[in-house]
Symmetry: C2
Subunit: 596 residues, 2 copies
């Protein structure tokens, strides 16, 4: 099989690091036991490994095709989507009231990881549909929810997010698409949207576009943007499909990667106006869109973990099979499989350690989200929501940035063969490249981390997390082995660097915003390195406790955590220097535009 | 123009850092004045900017095509090659005795950079021809030299290197191609070679393949490999072309990048044997091939610098043009071009600083090579040759590794547009990915750095370079400005880290070779970061002296060097920790094969 879901690792993180038992104790999640989780993951792994993973290369070679306004999905995708829909996979984390399965995000998250590892292009369609469902559930009327959500959950229809326009990418204040009220409660929408993932396809009967647009009397800037439902086919009162709406796919992009997922240019209103329905209140569209975006950002972070793991699995398989050169320590007379060469080990261990750390942090974040939604105590909910919100840009930014490095190492492990497209390693390198860009670039995530997540609460959540890292450092001290001493030392350095940087951000944001925002991406990376390292340290403590029951598995956890401590965590100090150096701007901001 | 050669920067490095005047004082290089260099660079820049750069995208979209054993080069390439050949560009650094121009490598190197920046795929053909010329000049008979070299220099013919076989990549001990003596001094060659760059094409009348093969009585392993000339067309005594030789291109690869350069599978001897001519002595083929490889490795390092600079230029152009979002410091009410955003600045400055540092180190290495070839004093020649040989794996490994990061940042600067192939930024990201692989992977470079370049002389050259870094640190102390203090501090940290690591390598290579080779790539990167940082520091000293004459240019040198000190050099400490942690192998080598 080209992809085998790492179920044992996933369950380890869910149970031991993210606290699945605590999540299962929340009201409404009583069924979310470890046994249920294991059963769900097993089923998901089958679909992903057997049906979706083999289509990944196929979709890359034979991308979705546009012709006369219609897009035909890549070969096999339509049938695979039918199986995905029939299995109920779109509804894992959505409420039972709308025919979802009502499981925690903590259980849905490994399913999302598997789906993306198996087939990133395919998984984007459900990813966007999830976002549309979240937005409708949050801001839609009950009628809108009843009309759209069950069909989206069943996979009869899919959803999209329509934000970007040629002049409005990161800066949504520049959105120009307009929505004119028709007097009957509906609107007519006119404009062009670009980069619309799965904006047109033949895998579902209808597509529910959620579209940012301006009403005629709206104020300028981001406070004048509203959110509209614009279905591809209008929906009759009996829920049957009616007329084709005036939204048309005029082209799809020729991209570096994720080629099977059609990236559409959508034209609204060229034939009289596309019928749209306002969601929630006018001019609050951006707020609602952020609901979709936050769900999508977390999911894109999972895409980073997913493609990293897939690249790792492929590299390991090749390294075990490819025989080349004698070992440097003279332990064999003939050439050995390259996994025995120290540098190949270093590359594979780097891929593994980064991926495991990113997975752990993401699952922990998912558990915070579950508690934030379901805990009986509002104060507890708020606390966990704040932590989740701090972690979302870190999960999104750090997991996706590292996925490029991991995929690049995966190519390198393959040597010359890695550069040949038929080998398949290059696809991950191409596919991963979009992840730090869409759903908000790493800089946008970093701005969010600095602005909304650090400055707004005066660093309270950041410091709470830093203190918890400190608790883990204390626990490491109780362990005897040298590996724990190594982790303790490096995690303490990392923790101190992160604390210093949070102080720096708080102290300088007002008088030297350029310095703080020049250092914002390094801050995000620092937070990613340290908080993932924290999870690796927590995994060590569990491994020490459980080691006797499964020495190979827990021994690998200990060794991988130590590798992370030695090879990854030391970068924290360099990032701290880089960030603090931004002050005054003599280095990072000194050049005039003409000097570039 | 899509590529403008940075002539001013190049001349600055040549003159101020690499010592062009000293090179011009060497016997035989009297004509290599700064004026000559400037004139050569101007001419080269015209050809590269006007003829070759526009074909870069074209070649990516319409790669070279294989049909019935023949390869047709990408559109426009044949005519461009004719212009390249007629301009005498193949011969810049080759001896006048064989119709070359006899200029120093220090002048040829910026020409190589431009050629590769303009069109990496195209430039590979001259790059391989250079290697073939070097090998022939070193090990060929006078008759062989007279027969092949002038035609290779004139561009009538081109050259290739035939090393790799399906089972023999990094490990040439596994080469199986055989050469059977015919009793008349010639051989018949049988075997399959893969990954042969420009192994077949229609840009020249003949192709001179240099081929590694074994004679029947050769010992096993690398000591039984000989080097043969196997021309595509046999050459008659009057130098006219004779019969088609029995070497045929059976396919070309479908690659991630450098698509216009055909990567051939060559079949030797399927129709009775390909006629080959031994070069030098039997069984010394690998030694001769290393002559080609060392020339080629340095040139591939230049490819890294080149693609990094091209990606930088494109990103800067986009960042100046693309308007998006208001500035974070509130200095404008409306959206501004994104070059005004701190994170975009950080990305562009990172690209710029890494590229400038790598260029400077490479040119400095080229000057050492010139002195090693031409100095009157043998002891001086040896000293410079040793330094050059230490620097070659650093230039190759570090410049190519960073070129991926720089090209990746280039995509990121473009946001969503970067992922669209039509934009062009993605091509550099794809093209760059081969650079740390071919002509010896980064691990192979790192093994060379550890084994031949550090252990063999007991660290003598490494320590000499480290001492010279120390001299520059002293000179920085004489300068008043805070930028110099910053550089002094960070370069001193880097110097110490490099010194510690060299000691570590020397102390542990025998009893813990796995540790040393697990840390070898980090050692190479550390050497790259520190030695490039050293060049940035030297540039600062020049800039301080010359600033009044050209404040914008020298001010940019000062700011870029400071950026390098603050944002790049701090990584040295992290690498030192990572390298020293390899000792004992508990982190990097602890997992068994099954645990992966």
């Amino acid at each position: 099989m080209s992809y085998t879901a790492p179920i044992k690792d996933m369950l380890f993180v869910m149970k031991e690091l993210a606290g699945l038992p605590e999540v299962a104790a929340l009201p409404g999640f009583e069924d979310a036991t470890v046994e249920t989780a294991a059963a769900v993951l097993d089923e998901s792994a089958k679909l992903c490994g057997e049906v979706l993973a083999p289509l990944n290369v196929e979709g890359d070679r034979n991308p979705s095709v546009w012709k006369d306004g219609a897009v035909t999905a890549a070969p096999g995708f339509k049938d695979a989507f039918r199986q995905f829909a029939e299995g109920g996979w779109q509804g894992v984390q959505h409420p039972t009231d709308y025919e979802g399965q009502g499981l925690p995000k903590l259980i849905a998250t490994p399913c999302v990881e598997m789906l993306n590892a198996a087939n990133l292009s395919f998984a984007l369609c459900p990813l966007l549909t999830d976002g549309a469902i979240e937005a409708l559930l949050t801001a839609g009327t009950e009628e809108q929810k009843q009309r759209y959500v069950p069909k989206l959950i069943s996979g009869e229809w899919t959803g999209t997010m329509n934000l970007t326009e040629p002049q409005a990418g990161s800066d949504l204040a520049l959105v120009r698409t307009r929505a004119e009220p028709q007097g009957d409660g509906t609107y007519r929408v006119f404009g062009t949207k670009i980069f619309i993932t799965w904006g047109e396809h033949d895998m579902a009967k209808n597509i529910v576009h959620l579209v940012l647009a301006r009403t005629p009397d709206a104020p300028e800037g981001v406070k004048g943007i509203s959110l509209f439902i614009v279905p591809k086919f209008l929906v009759n009162d009996d829920d049957s499909l009616g007329a084709r709406n005036d939204v048309h796919c005029v082209s799809i992009e020729h991209k570096l990667g994720i080629k099977a997922s059609p990236t559409a240019v959508l034209q609204f209103g060229d034939h009289g106006g596309a019928i749209g329905y306002l969601i929630g209140e006018a001019n609050r569209g951006l707020e609602y869109m952020f609901i979709m975006m936050n769900a999508a950002r977390f999911a894109v972070g999972m895409q980073g973990v997913a493609v990293a793991d897939r690249a790792y699995q492929k590299a390991v398989a090749y390294a075990k099979e490819r025989v080349q050169s004698r070992p440097v320590d003279g332990s064999a007379k003939n050439a050995v499989s390259i996994i025995h060469h120290p540098d190949v080990r270093r590359m594979l261990s780097t891929m593994r350690a980064l991926t495991e750390g990113a997975r752990a942090l993401a699952y922990v974040a998912a558990a915070h989200s579950d508690i934030a939604h379901r805990h009986a105590d509002a104060a507890v909910r708020d606390e966990h929501q704040a932590i989740y919100e701090y972690l979302v840009p870190v999960v999104k930014g750090w997991s996706t940035e590292l996925s490029i490095d991991v995929a690049s190492l995966g190519v390198q492990v393959h040597g010359g063969m890695g550069f040949i497209e038929e080998t398949g390693a290059a696809q991950y390198y191409r596919d991963a490249r979009i992840l730090p860009i869409y759903e908000g670039t790493t800089a946008i995530q970093a701005n969010d981390l600095v602005g909304r997540k650090t400055l707004r609460d005066g660093g309270a959540v950041a410091r709470k997390l830093i203190a918890r890292v400190g608790e883990t450092i204390q626990e490491l001290a109780a362990q005897d082995d040298v590996a724990f001493a190594v982790m303790r030392e490096q995690l303490a350095h990392g923790q101190q660097a992160l604390a210093n940087v949070v102080d720096f951000v708080l102290a300088n944001a007002k008088q030297d915003p350029n310095a703080v925002f020049a250092g914002s991406v390094p801050y995000l990376k620092l937070a990613g390195i340290v908080l993932c390292g924290w999870q690796m340290a927590r995994a060590m403590l569990v491994a020490a406790r459980e080691q006797a029951s499964d020495p190979a598995f827990y021994g690998a956890k200990l060794a991988t955590a130590r590798f992370y401590a030695e090879q990854v965590l030391p970068q924290a100090a360099a990032l701290e220097v880089a960030i603090r150096s931004c002050k005054g701007g003599e280095g990072v901001l000194a050049l005039s535009e003409d000097q570039f």
